[in-house]
Symmetry: C2
Subunit: 459 residues, 2 copies
């Protein structure tokens, strides 16, 4: 019976496991996961910390028992610590009992994810909370539920940090959001990020940019204050809202190539550079089809899709066939809700285009999320870029109140398929007063870009 070993039991790993077991019931599918949960919604952790989701179990899409009933073996609290790609064997250790053993494989899938690496400043080890896994989310919530937390400091003003800061304010805790960079959300251009910063401040978050934490102090095992290069803040909790770094210890031991982005190099079939070793999810590099380069993008949506592709190809290979499925790459789509604002982006930022040496034109404007005569029409700021002279849509950013988020998927499709602003402006997109103006905001952007690029306006 061929054996598939998967390291990592979240989105990418379990998508692959499920697909392989369904396609090839006679493959022995074994998963090792160092945490206590399988297949959980990492993006839901801020809602759990805020108390809007009651139990960690609500964030678990599928529990180990469900996988067991499908015939998939899952070893929780088990860490893969060594690998022999020649002998096709992985050394694992039980985190609770310390027992070591070997897990053989015919094919190995690394779905090891990513994790933040906080800088080693005084007090970090004792008092710094990371909220990347559900175990860590539980630990933070327990802390907030038991220690009288009046003030907290969140470090890192990206998605996770902003969402956690908002969660804290919703719980009635004074939240200071620190970032060493001069803007929140580096996934937006600075002019768009400024709107988000304003939304955070209006919601009651104490935003401090260009500021760096240097020490966390505490007494009796409880944090009391945070020291930065600009001052000192009282805080009964410190949360690191940092982006993750791919977990590559095992991949390095296997000799897999790591790309300049810091993610594992994989081909479109999700094969690493080592025979019999595949990878998917937050630990790999993906092709950015707009920029034409490789990025390490850590998002559940890619992890699920890549896990499915890996699963499809693994099922083929484990049945003696050729892999034929391919991951088509990413365009950099991301959305989030911060306070009462929706934030969406896809494609290149201006800085990306400059860095890649891409000639572009850009427009920025504001409009209504609904018809102007409706109650609360909603304000939306839009920024959109197209290539010069082609008119190809290169990227869009939208932030505002009202319906913004899923509208970015239209621009994402345009970026993915190489649609030009001439085509885009005339597509048959929807209109009704509760949902927008008669010219869709992205088509207004396309029209403005057509004019600015001096293109033949229409087809």
């Amino acid at each position: 019976m061929p054996r598939l070993l998967i390291v990592g039991g979240d989105a990418a790993g379990m998508s692959a496991a499920t697909h392989v077991k369904r396609a090839c019931p006679d493959v022995d599918v074994v998963v090792v996961e160092r945490g206590s949960y399988t297949s959980y919604a990492m993006c839901g952790i801020p809602y759990y910390v805020a108390g809007e989701v009651d139990e960690p179990a609500q964030l678990v899409a599928k529990a180990p028992e469900e996988f067991a009933s499908m015939g998939i073996t899952v070893h929780l609290r088990t860490e893969a610590v060594d690998v022999d790609p020649e002998g096709r064997m992985v050394g694992v250790i039980g985190l609770d009992d310390g027992e070591e053993r070997s897990e053989p494989y015919d094919q190995l899938l690394l779905a090891t994810g990513a994790h933040p690496v906080p800088q080693p400043i005084p007090g970090m080890a004792e008092y710094g909370n990371v909220v990347h896994t559900l175990d860590e989310g539980e630990r933070l919530r327990r802390h907030l539920d038991t220690v009288a937390t009046k003030q907290a400091v969140v470090v890192g003003a990206g998605y996770i940090g902003m969402e956690i800061a908002e969660s804290l304010v919703r719980r009635g805790i004074k939240a200071t959001l620190l970032d060493r960079s001069p803007q929140v959300m580096r996934s937006l251009d600075p002019d768009m990020a400024a709107h988000v910063e304003r939304a955070l401040i209006e919601f009651g978050v104490d935003v401090r940019l260009d500021e760096r934490m240097t020490e966390i102090r505490g007494t009796d095992g409880v944090c009391t204050e945070v020291v930065t290069d600009k001052g000192t803040f009282e805080a009964q909790a410190v949360i690191m809202g940092l982006g993750g770094k791919p977990n590559l210890e095992l991949a390095e031991k296997a000799g897999c190539e790591i790309g300049p982005s810091g993610g594992l190099v994989v081909d479109p079939q999700m094969r690493t550079t080592v025979a019999g070793v595949w990878a998917a999810g937050d630990c790999v590099e993906s092709v950015d089809v707009v920029a034409g380069l490789r990025r390490n993008v850590q998002l559940g949506t890619h992890a699920n899709k890549q896990g499915k592709i890996a699963g499809y190809n693994l099922a083929a290979v484990l049945s003696g066939n050729q892999p034929s499925a391919a991951f088509p790459g990413v365009v950099g789509t991301a959305v989030t809700k911060v306070c009462n604002w929706q934030i969406a982006r896809t494609g290149l930022l201006e800085s990306d285009a400059l860095e890649a040496g891409v000639e572009y034109e850009v427009v920025s404007f504001e409009g209504n999320a609904r018809a102007g005569y409706m109650d609360d029409p909603g304000r939306v700021y839009v920024k959109m870029m197209a290539g010069r002279p082609t008119g190809r849509v290169l990227g869009a950013q939208m932030v505002g109140t009202g319906n913004v988020a899923k509208r970015i998927d239209v621009a994402a499709t345009w970026c993915h398929l190489g649609v030009t602003v001439q085509e885009a402006q005339l597509l048959d997109l929807s209109y009704a007063p509760p949902f927008g103006g008669v010219w869709d905001l992205l088509q207004v952007g396309a029209r403005k870009l057509v004019a600015k690029l001096g293109l033949q306006p229409l087809l």
Copy 2:
């Protein structure tokens, strides 16, 4: 000075007027409009009738004085009644003073719109309200504001009828919605329309299908009851929520060809079959690029785009150049909000595919509008079709609570560009818990269609 005469001062006509005047300031642009308003949002009329919009002026995007200040002449309350395409002359009549005169032109644009034609049953002329123009909307609102209306009958369960019925319920009026067909909203398949019917009933609308009004009765000039083939209803107001029929009296006099859809035949440049006569908006036929046939689609979004195309080409022709802009056609995208439900559709219905002899596969399923663990995840019903064996996306319908409407624009783009379900399922679409699941609903549909069509699952 070359002279452009435009008949009809709403979306299509004024889009063209504005474009031509900006591009060619020395063209004499003259508009005749039989109503009292220019450029108003017809789709906003139900909100005005409901009292959610206070004044008709709020629905007017641009008033005649604003056009005058741009150098565009607008004659309101003036009807074009005759045309001589050889002599390039239109006969008009002032509706207030009854004066007749001739308006010469070098190029003529017919933007005459559409209007419902209620069946000639007893009482219709005295008591039947139509709400297609802003003047008519004002008349209905005046009626509702002055006559003690406790009960009303709305005839026609399409967009307009449903929106008006909802408006009435919001005003505290008992609304009966009649339709002679066995379903509401014939722009949806019956199984999807059934969800909308349920939403109407839950909101308090008295929905009666398969029922036909035969008479409206009244006393002292006020409607008192409505007779149908199944019963009699007390009603102090009767509103015809009917679709429009293109206004083609002038076009017929000019000798323009009318297509089987009942709309004017135009080429992609918006030229009718008569030299010097152009047309745009609700009165024309558009190419449905999915079905490969021509339809008369009456929507402000097309009227604006076609008006712009016509304006662009008219500016070229009036400057001695060749027209070069083209309208790319439609795919049948439409959205609306009915009660607390969002309704969206694009592309073909099953009945369209059957009628056109297109081989297809279809999937129907339900999902959440947001992540399942969020408060009020929102229910969404999805139906999606793809061509067999190509996998080309042919259409999608989504109805539900929560964020549905603008998501259809993604499927509309797929339909427009001929995207296949294999491509669609792997596009980089957005994900965050407040806005959907990790697999976008349309991508879930694409995945299901890939499986059902037995297609090579991935690229």
